[in-house]
Symmetry: C2
Subunit: 140 residues, 2 copies
Amino acid sequence: MNLPIGELARRTGVKVPTIRFYEQIGLLPQPPRTEGNQRRYGKAEVNRLNFIRHSRELGFDVDDIRGLLEMSSQPQASCHQADSIARNHLAEIDRRIASLRALRGELSRMVEECTHGRICDCRIIEVLADHSQCKAEHAH
Amino acid sequence: MNLPIGELARRTGVKVPTIRFYEQIGLLPQPPRTEGNQRRYGKAEVNRLNFIRHSRELGFDVDDIRGLLEMSSQPQASCHQADSIARNHLAEIDRRIASLRALRGELSRMVEECTHGRICDCRIIEVLADHSQCKAEHAH
DNA sequence: TACATACCTTTAGTCACTAGAGGAATGTCG
DNA sequence: CGACATTCCTCTAGTGACTAAAGGTATGTA
């Protein structure tokens, strides 16, 4: 359990330069180094990095993650902060899912029409342009 | 129908600087200008920009959109290019939906546990760290 | 001990915007 | 007609979250 950065990368699915980047912006602590100045990591870093990766996949941004990580170091102190971060993301995720599902339907219909359509006059552009009004309000 | 850029922005939900940016990278054509050098747009630009915005929301990148826009100018020539672009995105969208749905479940469970949990020992961090292994393979 | 491989730092590039400075045009009200 | 708020103009630089490349050093195996 004295992993070089490449091993940490392999075990977490996070690329080597990204790990160094995370250290640079303070998401990962500076690990101990070998004589020759190479980083060595332990089990804690594997967990922490897995947490970071998964959070990024969930759509949390770096500041959110920083917050969550801080909280985890003060176990029960500020649970409802974590809750509110998660809650916000839940709403956002619901919005994204709804949007993607609607658009998936559109897209698959377009593909259908396009492949089996006569004269290949698929309306992909028109469809995308038409349906765009009905969501004009929610920026993101 | 001789809209200044702000009106175009209002009608499409795309911000003014973003419109200028789209012109700069060639997604929007250079519109005619007034005596005093201000851009004036017509109905065609409203459509085109709506199409662009909606495509971006779908997750198409600028190159894809450029491709789609080119195709739309040569009506039936290369429909199966549009088809393949759309098809690729269909797969990607399915992946994203699946991922979001899984994570939504996790997140909402966490929120539940956290709000109603005793002693407020919510496991948000642990949950995020634990579940991260089972998706280590699919990057992005 | 030679050598491939993995590591190091630093700088610059990517994508799709977004913000700000400093100034000119437009349109409305008196 | 003139003052004035608002919108517009260009240009440069900054953002977030990486990713790539250059040029050089450690590590570990044959």
